[in-house]
């Protein structure tokens, strides 16, 4: 199974963990991050994710390579959805497996920080007032400095 997937379809976290674990018993720590479509005000009808096919997969692969260089991971999986999603829907899944819990936590945190500021995705929010592109957050590029 590919380590990186960019897809319209939803993912099943239990299936993804099981596929990554296989019958290995040499890891002790599995961390997952799931990002979901958030609707704080109750006004969001949908969120449409546009991406740059080809570059998205390449960029996620580079981020995953970098995480595997920095931490002793025995497994690493990234799935990012695109297309039209509704509040509560899954957007992204990151799984890291390691013998050591801090490595698994840090690698997943790192993957999300880099994915957020490198992977070529753009979100458009749709409400009763029409569509609006989401602005990038300053805090997301600031978050990268933690990993210098």
């Amino acid at each position: 199974m590919a380590r990186i997937s960019v897809q319209r379809e939803d993912f099943q976290i239990a299936d993804e963990i099981a596929a990554l674990r296989g019958d290995r018993t040499d890891m002790g720590a599995i961390v997952t991050f799931t990002g979901t479509v958030r609707d704080i005000t109750g006004e969001l009808k949908a969120m449409t994710l546009e991406h740059y096919p080809g570059m998205t997969e390449a960029e996620l692969g580079r981020v995953a390579d970098e995480a595997e260089k920095r931490w002793p991971l025995v497994g690493c999986r990234v799935i990012h959805r695109y297309g039209r999603l509704e509040p509560g829907d899954n957007i992204v899944l990151v799984i890291t497996m390691s013998a050591h819990r801090h490595a698994a936590f840090e690698a997943a945190d790192f993957l999300m920080d880099f994915l957020k500021s490198r992977a070529p995705f753009w979100k458009m929010e749709e409400t009763d007032n029409g569509g609006q592109w989401v602005d990038a957050k300053e805090s997301d590029s600031d978050a990268l400095k933690r990993w210098d």
Binding site: W122, K123, D135
Partner: protein, 85 residues
């Protein structure tokens, strides 16, 4: 010199297309030159790319800075800061 240009998000909406192939003069040597050239064509490109501080660029599907060289047959993509995850 022929280049493949690709646009995303509100830059795509302002340019009015998602991609195009374009013949460029030989003095376009960097991404910065390319943006200047496009903005000089008409107000449509000016509105899409004129504010360079909010334009991000990838050459052949890799993030680059404004001083990155562009050459024949490159795929150059323009987009706002990414908001995935």
């Amino acid at each position: 010199m022929t280049m493949q240009l690709v646009y995303f998000s509100w830059i795509r909406e302002r340019v009015g297309k998602s991609e195009e192939s374009m013949q460029l003069p030989g003095d376009v040597k960097t991404v910065d030159d390319l943006i200047d050239h496009l903005c000089s064509i008409n107000e449509v490109y000016q509105a899409a790319l004129g504010n360079k501080s909010v334009v991000r660029v990838a050459v052949n599907q890799t993030h680059v800075n404004l001083d990155h060289p562009v050459t024949d047959a490159d795929e150059v993509a323009f987009f706002p800061p990414v908001t995935g995850g």
